[in-house]
């Protein structure tokens, strides 16, 4: 059963349509990632679910109850802000106890609860410190601890990893996932980072210009992107698109391989590639170049894993191919995926 539902949700700031009609159903216990470029309305959507922003139009239901007009405190939700928003004048203990104090619980109960939550996140040692004496990773845990201590129905996370450095981010992502599985708490996670989204999400909602472009599992949205926006936004680099008469051809760089490494003979799409530059990234090689097609020259990229050792040099011309099962076709006007080859 869906625990959060939005119905025709809209939010306009003056003439800017931050969120422009979103219908969403989030299942109980799942980790739903909202992914999109900055300014796509993903944070506004989350803030409306939290009750920090009033929708211009539409309704929000939590556990079957309409909450559209309710303030945040009556929604049984928690949120971790991008900045963590730890109260600088309170100790870690008081920060974590703050949501419980709002419920006017007994001191003894609050103490037990805070210690229990702190133990789960391994921050028992930090309780007497002030936030400014904590490292980035510790702050993130405290914020998470504060969010879960009141055991809300829903946990909202607004890019909580973006303030961590790259190395820390990977471990934090792992911890976050374990923690969420362990508690089984419904989690909505907003990010612009597709690696985070792919790694964490049970399902991913891709947004752009205030609208949902696609909802699905990470594999689904990556391999079966609904439209050219999703296809180019996901993957690094994004999908190669080649214009043809009245449709677009798309194929991912990792499926764009030199002719000689593909054993198959049939069902191959050939693209002559004039290589302009080769980047060695360790695990992969990125091959930048141009290909001629029906409508002229198009820039394309191939991503070759290090297991492919074929010599590719810039300035030379090679035959590259894409297997038919990896070919995607899109409408050249709307960008929407065409199910069958035109």
């Amino acid at each position: 059963m869906a625990i959060i539902e939005t119905k025709g949700l809209k939010k306009y700031f003056d003439s800017v349509k931050a969120v422009d009609g979103i219908d969403l159903a989030i299942n109980e216990g799942e980790m739903l990632v909202i992914l999109g470029p900055s300014g796509c309305g993903k944070t506004t959507l989350m803030r409306m679910i939290a009750g920090l922003e009033k929708p211009t139009e539409g309704e929000i239901y939590i556990d079957g109850v309409e909450v559209t007009q309710l303030p945040p405190r009556n929604r049984d939700i928690s949120m971790v802000f991008q900045s963590y928003a730890l109260y600088p004048h309170m100790t870690v203990y008081n920060n974590i106890a703050f949501p419980l104090k709002a419920k006017k619980l007994s001191k003894k109960y609050i103490k037990e609860k805070v210690e229990w939550a702190a133990k789960i996140l391994g921050i028992g040692e930090l309780l007497e410190r002030k936030p400014r004496h904590l490292s980035g990773g510790e702050r993130q845990r405290v914020a998470l601890c504060r969010a879960m201590v009141k055991e809300p129905k829903i946990l909202l996370l607004d890019e909580p990893l973006s303030n961590l450095d790259a190395k820390l981010r990977a471990t934090a992502r792992d911890e976050l996932q374990q923690f969420q599985r362990q508690l089984g708490i419904t989690t909505v996670f907003v990010t612009h980072d597709q690696i985070e989204a792919m790694g964490l999400g049970d399902r991913i909602v891709v947004m752009n210009h205030g609208k949902v472009r696609q909802i699905g599992s990470p594999e689904e949205i990556y391999h079966n992107s609904n439209d050219t926006f999703v296809a180019t936004f996901l993957g690094s680099p994004g999908i190669n698109l080649i214009e043809r008469n009245n449709y677009l051809v798309g194929f991912r760089p990792e499926n764009f391989l030199p002719r000689e490494v593909v054993k198959q003979k049939k069902g191959l799409n050939k693209f002559p590639l004039r290589v302009s530059r080769v980047e060695h990234l360790g695990a992969d090689r990125l091959v930048y170049g141009e290909t001629d097609d029906e409508k002229g020259v198009t820039k394309v990229i191939a991503k070759l894993p290090s297991s492919i050792t074929v010599l590719v040099e810039s300035g030379k011309k090679y035959d590259f191919v894409v297997q038919e099962q990896h070919m995607r076709y899109f409408d050249d006007q709307s960008g929407i995926r065409l199910k069958v080859k035109p």
Binding site: E5, A25, E66, L70
Partner: protein, 318 residues
């Protein structure tokens, strides 16, 4: 989808839950209202009463208001005191600001350097601004006393004052008894009082300059004075404007210094508009005349305020 099924269940607590303590608009107005009421009742209302007074024949004894048109203004303008008070008010303010802005820039640049005892120096320098102006002026009154001024003693001792010296045969300067000396004394006290304020404002401006820009200038080979004149001062120009405008307002509308130091004297040579308005309006009870005199301050203030707003909007763009 399950939307329709669950969507119909409406919360019974829903109504009025987003009460006053959560309603931003209502809370915002409610929070602002007392301040606005206070200001309207005790600033806007008296301001309009002042205008009404100036067009009436009201006095302390006679509370009825009869419209007399521009009579008060006409009568006031004709007196020689008015001309002198107006010239003095503008002149004192102008001369004070010119001196202050030069000195304040120098002082602020000095105080922006690192040196030992800076905190004490800043405190001593701010003291004239922090002291109640009436008490500071009393100090000056005693410092400039006609008989016991310590300046007199030093001038005599250094051979500058007394028989056969440049400053004349007497052994006392009588600072407050001579037209030009009295005027210079008033300006000196204004400078003494406003200098600290302008300095700390400029100092705040200087210290707020992005260190990267100064580092860049140093990398580019700019020395102290070049950096000062081509980078620092142009960058704090808007803040300098703010300092000047505050200085103008605090000097132009002040009545304490002249009231305590000279009471406008000798004769009416150091008279300024606010003091004269007080003498007329309160001491002689001619409320209408007093209000009319005070209103002559308004056009200048209005101009200053407009300048200030433009400066503020310019700094916002930056």
């Amino acid at each position: 989808m399950t939307l329709q099924k669950t969507g119909v269940v409406k919360s019974t607590q829903n109504k009025g839950f987003r009460g006053l303590s959560d309603n931003e608009g209502a809370l915002g107005s409610l929070f602002l209202l007392p301040a606005i009421i206070y200001i309207v009742a005790l600033v806007a209302v008296p301001f309009f009463i002042a205008i009404a007074f100036s067009f009436s024949d009201v006095t302390v004894g006679n509370t009825s208001l009869n419209y007399v048109g521009l009579e008060n203004f006409a009568r006031v303008i004709k007196t020689p005191q008015f001309k002198r008070a107006l010239i003095n008010s503008i002149g004192f303010t102008f001369v004070t600001q010119v001196i202050v802005i030069v000195l304040a820039n120098i002082l602020a640049v000095i105080l922006s350097q690192d040196f030992r005892g800076k905190w004490i120096a800043r405190m001593l320098i701010i003291l004239p601004w922090a002291t109640p102006i009436s008490l500071g002026t009393i100090g000056w009154l005693w410092l400039l006393d006609s008989k016991f001024s310590p300046f007199d003693w030093f001038l005599v001792k250094w051979g500058l004052l007394g028989p056969d010296t440049i400053l004349g045969p007497g052994t006392h300067m009588i600072f407050l008894g001579r037209e030009w000396l009295a005027m210079a004394s008033v300006v000196t006290i204004y400078v003494w009082r406003i200098l600290p304020l302008s300095t700390v404002i400029l100092l705040a401006g200087l210290t707020s300059i992005n260190q990267d820009i100064l580092d860049q200038a140093e990398v580019d080979g700019s020395k102290f004075f070049r950096t000062l004149f081509t980078i620092k001062l142009p960058l704090i120009l808007p803040i300098m404007a703010v300092a000047v405008l505050f200085g103008i307002i605090f000097t132009f509308t002040d009545m304490t210094v002249v009231y305590i130091l000279t009471r406008g004297g000798p004769i009416y040579y150091t008279q300024v508009l606010p003091v004269w308005a007080y003498f007329k309006g309160i001491d002689s009870g001619a409320l209408a005349d007093g209000a009319a005199i005070a209103l002559f301050l308004f056009p200048v203030l209005l101009a200053v305020v407009i300048l200030m707003l433009r400066t503020a909007s310019r700094t916002e763009i930056n």
